[in-house]
Symmetry: C2
Subunit: 316 residues, 2 copies
């Protein structure tokens, strides 16, 4: 049996990423109800908002689901209390060291997964006691690693270096991408961008339409001096680019970034002055669909591509 399906008690090794401004209970429960693992993205939620989403998610599905916690989040203790109180079965942590939180969550009977962008951090996460890692490539949307290692290069390295299950992320927008990740040795896939442009995503309609319209080359990994982030090039990005052109220092970059830009772009729909975090794979997304349809498309295409690969014509 697939190690991730066994670990989370799910049917299909497809995990919907917990993305800020995009991953409410409606999305998480829809994915879990299809037999995958849905994740509530708590990084953009106040403590009381997270609690509401957890409660509603439990009402909407009997299946396991997870909450993602960026470890830099200021109200992290309140989030953790909510998660333990409501017996959320799985937590994905990201953006920080999993050392402190992992034992606390594990003691409460919660499965813990940490998101990494390098093999060294995958090994450190395993040593910290996590149950699995997400290995996320350079092509992924939102915050990302400094080494720029792509999914094709990262996954085989991580699979070789750790014994715990590995979930591939970055560049996976279809069943073919999923099959490629499994070929590289991953146990499961985490899918962000494709679900950001779902009906159930809490992203602003403008942002969803922008994802659908975006073409190859429209995203870039930038602001490496602060926290590297992949976003769609727009007016805000032009300001950043101009700042780089005049050799702006970190303080100037921080000032340009300001506060709440991701909310402005992704939640309020300001496509020019907001920060539009999305992966390179957005070029493959051509329609806003329900999470259920997206899930079915993934499974169908995975099977079709697998059948092709198993045919005599791929037997060299």
């Amino acid at each position: 049996m697939n190690r991730i399906c066994k670990l989370f008690d799910i049917e299909k090794p497809i995990i919907q990423a917990g993305m800020i401004w995009c991953s409410p209970w409606q999305l998480a429960s829809a994915v879990s109800n299809k037999g995958g693992l849905g994740i509530i993205g708590s990084g953009s939620m106040y403590p009381e908002v997270l609690e509401e989403h957890v409660v509603k998610c439990k009402q909407a599905t009997d299946k396991p689901f997870a909450v993602n916690i960026p470890l830099l989040y200021p109200n992290i203790e309140e989030h953790v209390n909510t998660i333990i109180k409501h017996k959320v079965p799985v937590v994905f942590t990201s953006a920080g060291s999993p050392k402190k939180l992992t034992p606390i969550l594990k003691d409460a009977g919660i499965k813990v997964v940490h998101v990494v962008s390098s093999t060294v951090f995958a090994q450190k996460s395993e040593a910290a006691g996590v149950d699995a890692v997400v290995a996320e490539g350079f092509e992924a949307g939102g915050h990302n690693g400094r080494d720029e290692t792509t999914t094709m290069c990262l996954i085989p390295n991580v699979v070789k270096a750790v014994d715990i299950p590995v979930i591939a992320a970055g560049g996976i927008g279809s069943g073919r991408g999923m099959l490629a990740a499994m070929a590289l040795g991953a146990d499961a896939v985490q899918v962000g961008s494709r679900f950001a442009a779902s009906v159930e995503s809490s992203a602003h309609e403008n942002f969803k339409n922008k994802i659908v319209e975006s073409r190859e080359g429209d995203t870039i990994l930038t602001l490496k001096e602060l926290a590297p982030v992949r976003l769609i090039k727009n007016s805000f990005y032009e300001s950043v680019k101009n700042a780089y052109a005049r050799c702006a220092n970190v303080d100037e970059l921080k000032e340009i970034l300001g506060r709440a830009r991701a909310k402005k772009g992704m939640f309020e729909g300001d496509l020019e002055e907001g920060e539009l975090e999305i992966g390179q794979v957005s070029s493959q997304i051509n329609e806003v669909k329900s999470a259920g349809e997206i899930f079915d498309d993934f499974v169908k295409e995975y099977h079709e591509a697998r059948t092709e690969l198993l045919s005599e014509s791929a037997n060299f």
Copy 2:
């Protein structure tokens, strides 16, 4: 039958990249003799040197082989004359527009393949009449595209956009990587870095050992203002990085780059002041092996990974 095997009349859809300073007749003929397609890298050869390599390659193998021509090469006419005179069956072109040269080569009965890093250029290449394209991701070594699109994201886009066969390149250092590329819809793979560290490669021993030693995160895509190139971070790269930090202009960057840095690093073995062009996948290369062994490893691992993917445990 596999479209690339049919097009080139080869047995296995594995192509060894024509790399400057690394791809002599010894390497190309060894790969062709295994049933793949070997390529002589003419970009670092004077016209008389290329002719010698073509003649020796024909003596060393009865099988099809190719020559790679970077289209910015100054002595391109002499190279083309040599290729036509000696009836080289396949030419790979790169770094420029294939419009002018493609009809000339096709008229001489030569198959033409062009290397691209974006879907738009793949479509332009198809319109120019090439027989196939190599779609090369951000993780690839040496000169690369400006959009930074990774192999995971690029291959499905190109496969969807053109009718001609697509050869995947970038991040493919093993049979698992090959299987992943085929899962994404590629007809074949082009492998560079792994063969740069082969016994038959003409790279300096120091450079081969450096590839073996290099770890994840040791390469970077830089010099985007001149021609983007992926290389191993060393003293030369530190100079480039410092120049960026002080907002150096293009002329200063050109001066720092100077001339013949790739030769100095890759062929003369100066690991600090030379330019060491290699892909991210170098982190997976742990031993210098003969081209034949590398080829056999690829085929063996491809089969093992394919068998895993065929098993019931991968049937979701």
